[in-house]
Each structure stands twice: as C-alpha cells, then as structure tokens.
Symmetry: C2
Subunit: 260 residues, 2 copies
DNA sequence: GATCTGTCTTCCGTCACGTGGAAGCGCGGT
DNA sequence: ACCGCGCTTCCACGTGACGGAAGACAGATC
C-alpha cells in the first residue's frame, strides 16, 4: 500500500490547493459564525473571491446563512460528519453505556478518540447544571493532562508517544505532569493497570478516571468519568464501572461493523 | 439583503463547480466507505483526477483512509459538523431533557429539525436493545408520516407546506395519510393543540407523540417519543412529558446563544 | 443632505492551476 | 507468462477560477 495519502499521525500540513477547504477551516469553536468579510480576511483572499467560494459552499449546503447574514456550518456538513468514525458505530455503541454510567454516578461521562497528538471529545453526558466549558463535543485538548488522553497516549504508536514526550509539556495546573521521565512512568502504569487517573492535571478541581475501549486488541477510544472537587481516592471507586462500560462498548464495536 | 446565496427552503441544485464537494457527496449512509475507484466512478471523473482530489481532501483531514485502503469521512468534517446548528446549542440543550424523558419512559426519544421537505434526525436516545434502523442520527425521512415531521411541517413556511401537499404523499403503511385535504386538517389540528401524533404512519408497530421546540415564537426543532406496538391512547399519555421537555429546551435555547 | 466607512454584490479579462490522457507499478488470479 | 484490476505518478493543455474594479446599499457622523 505505502501511500502518500495516509493521514499521518502527526497532523497539519501546508494549505495546499482548494480554497473551498480554507473557507471551511475559517470556522472554529471560538468563531462558529462569520460574515463574508470576516471569512475573506481570515482566509486571506479578496472579497470577490470569498463571495464566490462562499456562494458555492452555500448552494451545496456546506454553509448556511442565518437571518443576520452571517454564515455558519451547514446541515450537509453535519450529516457527513455523522458518517465519520466517531459517529458511525462508536457513538451509537457507547451512548447506552454512557447513559447507564451517568444514571449511576451522576457525574460527567466522556468519550474521546485520539487525533495526532490531541484528544478529540466525541461525546459527553452531563447533568443539566454541570456546565463544563473545558470539554465540549467536537473539542480538542492536549493528550497528557486528561484522563482519556493518558489512556490514548499510552496505547498510541511509539512514534506518537515520542513526539509528545519530546515536545514541551504544558502545565495547566500545579499538578500537571511536565517531566517526560515521570510521564513515561505514568504511561507504563496506565498500560499495566488498564486505567488512568488524572488528578487535577487539567483544572484544580477536576479528577478523572479513564479506561481504554479496545476492539480486537487495538485501543480505538477512551471512556472517562470526571468528578469535580473530590478526592482521587473517591474517584478511583468509579474505576470498575468505567472499565466495565469500556469493555462492553468494545465488545459491541467488535461484533458490529468494521472497525480498523 | 436579497441574496442569491440564501439556501432556499427547497433543497437540491446543480452540481455547480467544486469537484471536491462532489467527492464528499459520494459518501452516504448506505455507502460510508469507498475505494478510490468507487469514488471515481460515482463522481464521474478519471481515476487520476479522483486520486488528486482525494489526496487533497485526505491531507486536509476531510477524508481518512483505513487499513484496507478504503476512504471514509474524516475527523475534521465531524468536528466541523459539531459547529452546525443541530449540534451547536440545540443538541447540548436538548440532551439532558431527552435523558430525563428516557429515564422516565424508557422509550425511544427523538430530536429532529427540518431541511427543505425532509426531517433530519439530530439526536436519538434508545435503550441498548431497541435497535431502530429506521431513524438514525444524521438520517433523513419524509415529513408527513413522522410525528416530528408533522410538527415541523405544521409550522413551516406556507410555501414549503404547499410544496409538500402538492407533491405525491408516499404511503408507508395502511395508516399513512395520503390525502392532501386530510393532511391539511391534521396540520391545523397540530398547530391548534401544540402536538402531533403519528399513529402507525411510518411502520405498522410504531406510534409517536411529538411537540415543537420554539424559541421566540419560531419552531426550530421537534421532540418526540416513539413507542413500538402500543395503542395510540397509551402513547398519548406521554404527551405532557414531551411537551414539557420541548418547552424546557426552547427556554434554554432562547436564553443561551443566538438562535435565528 | 453630503460624506465617509463599512458591508456585500456583480462583472469580466487574464493566466495560474486543475484536468485527464498516458504510462508504469504491484498484486492476485488463470 | 499473461491478463485484469486498482492505484500512483507525470506532464502538456485549455478551461474555469481568480481578483481587480466599479457600484449598490446601509449606517454613522457632521
């Protein structure tokens, strides 16, 4: 096979050709709606060009225009997204288990996959009140400090692990592990025990337990429970539940459709 | 404003320009993964062209290539989709309420929006067992026979209603309403009562109650409970719960971010 | 009312860049 | 050895994307 088309584990590349894609890339979690001028400025093309590009995308359904004349990502893209690996199978398989976990614990339940050297949050169940701005569905975060990230990193290809361990490890709190040597030990422990605990590494008041979701030996995602303002010991008691759910999800995935 | 760029209520159009988009359009719920040749055939371009297009999309993250060499929609598209109206706000606001509804009823709970003359299912909560193939997240269906569709159609712009009423009304079961005059009466009743009941109109064993989700007077989505193999009367008892949840969701939407 | 500043829209001549034919590679079947 | 199939790379050609320019429109400021 040995293809140039493989999306390498280490993301990002030159903008290449299609300006259509550049227009789509202008939208982000921070700026989910844009005006035509904003798009033109962000992409770096003249207004007339942006106008044509946006027109094409809008006709196709990739973008929508709301009443104020602002553009946003359209339904068509959302529908396509429903065909991507996170949504197709993984989400469907995981939701019931996540629901059960939530019913029992009434804590945040998270489902995430790895993309390059980042976690991407695929699903989250939380109470009506628990407004957790840090992790949003579709959001990204660095791998090392999060519970799911530790699990995903521990089972990532060696080349990814080395890249993360080599790069600077950002400290989000006092407790964030920033020493590569120590992180390496933690990852080994995660592999050994089959679970990870992130103790206030992301924010001062959040502790999480995470377990890998495996299908035929390969870790494809991670599941976690996040508790705010609790002791690591108490949180650790959730571990068996999380692991059981992760196991169940893996079993469903393996039995259903194709999962690389 | 009066723009050509407005995505009209009545979907579909000429394929226009960008072949990149045509490649993305080749993926569907029925065929979520494709080989390069399949893409070339579907789009109707020579293999070399498809190769370049797919390469561009893959580099960007819009497509991914799995171990077998087959292509699928990539994480990047899924992330963008998380910025679309269904996911951004609506989903977040609705999930807790849907979870509550499910906890109480243990029946299928559905969230849907309208796109042109079709329903698009945005979210669904179902038990681990209830495998309902007919409605999948990201899936589409005709408006008239479904509960959510009746609600959305009843509150759609007159031009959409006329278009649907004029077009042929497909009969999915013996009970599907296919008479325009009768459908018109039902829609009026839906508007009056603030809820819709679809009695075995989609399949012989499914009945659903649906309620509109309104924000500042505009119906932006619909919520429903679907019950299999039950009498309409029994199902109707769920109506207050559904309506209360829909009301709650609308309130959240109105209070939070911008909702056209 | 005049002017300015910002937004969006349309038009059209030029030339980069996407296009697709052709050739080559690797594999599995006969 | 031969063929068929799917994939990859290369490159000369000609089309369709690009963006400058001009103008419509709305809101603010004087």
């Amino acid at each position: 096979m040995t293809s140039h088309l493989r999306a390498g584990p280490l993301r990002a590349r030159r903008t290449a050709g299609g300006k259509l894609l550049a227009v789509l890339a202008a939208f982000s979690r921070e700026r989910p709606t844009l005006t035509l001028s904003e798009i033109a400025r962000t992409v770096g093309v003249p207004l007339s060009t942006a106008h044509r590009l946006v027109g094409e995308l809008t006709r196709w359904g990739a973008l929508e225009r709301d009443a104020d004349g602002r553009f946003r990502i359209g339904l068509r893209i959302w529908e396509l997204g429903a065909l991507a690996p996170p949504a197709l199978g993984l989400r469907e398989a995981a939701l019931p288990f996540m629901g059960d976990l939530y019913e029992v614990t009434h804590q945040n339940v998270q489902l995430a996959v790895r993309d390059g050297d980042e976690v991407v949050f695929v699903e989250r169940i939380a109470g009506r009140d628990a407004v957790n701005v840090l992790t949003q569905v579709g959001g990204r975060f660095a791998l090392p400090p999060t519970g799911v990230g530790l699990v995903l990193l521990a089972h990532a290809p060696a080349e990814v692990q080395e890249h993360v361990l080599a790069g600077p490890l950002t400290a989000y709190t006092q407790h964030t592990i920033t020493d590569a040597r120590q992180l390496r030990r933690v990852l080994a422990e995660v592999r050994r025990s089959g679970m990870a605990v992130s103790d206030r590494q992301v924010t001062e008041d959040a502790v999480s337990v995470a377990a890998p979701i495996e299908v035929r030996g390969a870790v494809v995602a991670a599941l976690s429970i996040v508790v705010r303002g609790s002791s690591p010991a108490a949180v650790r008691s959730y571990a068996p539940g999380v692991r059981a759910a992760a196991l169940g999800i893996g079993r469903i995935l393996a039995s259903t459709s194709t999962w690389s």
